[in-house]
């Protein structure tokens, strides 16, 4: 049985400019031990989806569709029951550890509190557990970090502390929203390795959200590409990166500067990311797509298979896959 099942999840947010359709019709199953990556640019709805899964949507948000965790419908739960699920079954690591940690409490206190709250361990056991958690996430000399305040830690250490907090109650699903975006590149590798290790060690499922294709490529089994609130391409990571199907994925891939290449012009995607409150009808990418036809502007594309478990939402898939201008640059 899948750990997490998401069925036609849709989130709409009232904004001054109108109703923002932040997530549209996203469905997936996450198996135990599976790692899923969600990649997209700002405003593609990836963070909103994470908040929806955590039941942490801002007030006034309209949520539709089903979220089932271990056979239990999360949408039927009240806030109190949802609190038990958060931390116990699903945990989240945020982008900016400085703002997600409480500056007036020590790291130890912030790890031990959810632990005692959810697990019912006694003070001494919880203490020992906290120290071993801190050690596990690479905060060597855990006693020193136990009594330290967030501002005394570096960015990487804070993110390690956040991971310790997330792990404290043995969640089954870990959601990491841009966990390394605020960190230096040499620290980024350490944190990604840590996340990958604890996830496989504890047989957790992982949803990794990132704007960085490289981070996604190196960390997860399966990848979702989101654009304008919807998934435009999905599939096993090696397949997607070997055969980029959707014109947006192709464009995104070509736009990333890579270390292994010379000084040259980058291929760009014209225009800018659309406003979620003002999405074009038809295919949301049509305005920026070089392959767009008239039908693309009027008809919403369905997901179509391009390989085993690999599909993309594009009306002109054949042309997109055939165009040799993009494609893989392994």
């Amino acid at each position: 049985m899948s750990v997490l099942e998401v069925d036609r999840l849709t989130v709409a947010l009232p904004m001054v400019a109108g109703l923002a359709r932040a997530v549209r019709d996203v469905s997936f199953r996450l198996e135990r031990g599976e790692t899923l990556g969600i990649v997209g640019e700002s405003g593609c709805g990836k963070s909103m989806m994470a908040l929806a899964l955590m039941g942490l949507l801002p007030e006034g948000a309209d949520l539709r569709g089903g979220i089932t965790l271990n056979g239990c419908d999360l949408r039927a739960l009240d806030e109190k029951a949802m609190c038990r699920v958060r931390g116990n079954a699903i945990a989240m690591v945020f982008q900016e550890p400085m703002t997600s940690l409480n500056p007036v409490h020590t790291i130890g206190k912030q790890v031990i509190e959810p632990l005692m709250l959810h697990s019912g361990l006694g003070r001494d056991e919880a203490n020992a557990e906290t120290l071993s958690l801190l050690e596990r996430v690479g905060l060597v000399d855990p006693r020193r970090f136990y009594g330290a305040y967030p501002h005394q830690l570096s960015g990487g250490q804070r993110q390690r502390a956040m991971i310790a907090m997330a792990l404290s109650c043995h969640p089954e699903v870990l959601i990491a929203d841009e966990p390394t975006t605020a960190l230096d590149v040499t620290i980024q590798g350490q944190i990604l390795d840590l996340i990958r290790d604890v996830v496989s060690e504890r047989q957790m499922s992982l949803i990794l959200i990132s704007h960085d294709l490289g981070v996604i490529a190196e960390t997860v089994d399966r990848v979702f590409v989101m654009y304008g609130g919807a998934v435009v391409e999905q599939g096993p990571t090696p397949d997607v990166f070997a055969r980029l199907a959707h014109p947006y994925t192709q464009g995104l891939f070509a736009a990333v500067p890579q270390v292994g290449e010379g000084r040259r012009r980058l291929r760009t995607i014209p225009g800018t990311v659309p406003e979620l409150a003002d999405l074009p009808g038809g295919c949301t990418f049509a305005d920026r797509c070089s392959l767009a036809h008239e039908t693309c502007r009027s008809q919403v594309p369905d997901m179509r298979s391009v390989g085993e478990n690999h599909s993309a939402a594009c009306l002109r898939l054949d042309a997109a896959m055939a165009s040799s201008s993009f494609g893989s640059r392994r």
Partner: protein, 290 residues
Amino acid sequence: MNVSRRPGLHTLALRHRSFLLGSVLSGLVVLLALISLVWTPHSAYELDIANKLKPPSPAHWLGTDHFGRDVTSMIMVGAQNSLVVGVVAVSIGMAVGVLLGLWASAQRGWAEELVMRFSDFTFAFPAILSAIMITAILGPGAVNSILAIGIFNIPVFARITRGSANAIWAREFVLAARAAGKGRAQITLGHVLPNILSAIIVQATIFFAIAILAEAALSYLGLGTQPPQPSWGRMLNEAQTFLYLSPHLALFPGLVIVISVLGFNMLGDGLRDLLDPRLSRTRLAGYSSR
């Protein structure tokens, strides 16, 4: 981040309750003062001992005082007095205080120290006590009470200006202006002042209310506006003697003081919300950006 189309300021203003109520209340006070310039039910100065201490009646809506003067008219003329004191005192405080604050923030170093220690020094005395001290030295009167209140508004505005200006000086667009070759004075006028103006306006509105209260207090103590010029504070003072006999004499001036202070305070709070640029982005916008 969102490039949101913000609804017009007036649409937002109509939705803001405290702003609406505040503008109605303070508008009422201003209206009273304006009408009194051309018309009052009776003269506010004419004595009519025969009709002294009358309760409210169709002839004298709010009754008469111990000299038989019409309370309605006195309150209306008193509103002029309060507003003039408020406007002039706040203007003095704002003009000098904002200049000092901008200067301190642009110069940093010893200039900032000087201005801030000067503010600390004046903050060490309770404002009303200091105002009493100044009027005691300069002599009682409307002009001197305006000066006293104005002088004690200076450090308040200096402090607020310097705080907000320092925040602007730390912004990258100021660095960009420096890189473009702009001098301190040009940056202060071109970038800093326009960006802190709304904060200053909000403070001015709130301190306007405080100035009205301070004037009432000084007049109550006999240090402010002198007779026969009607003033709310002195009306309260004179009503004291007849509190059991004619409670309406204390009630109505007290009420208008409360209304005007409340009104300008709410107006200030409303302005603070409406002029806050963060309101122009939506509260939810932060969630949809990565």
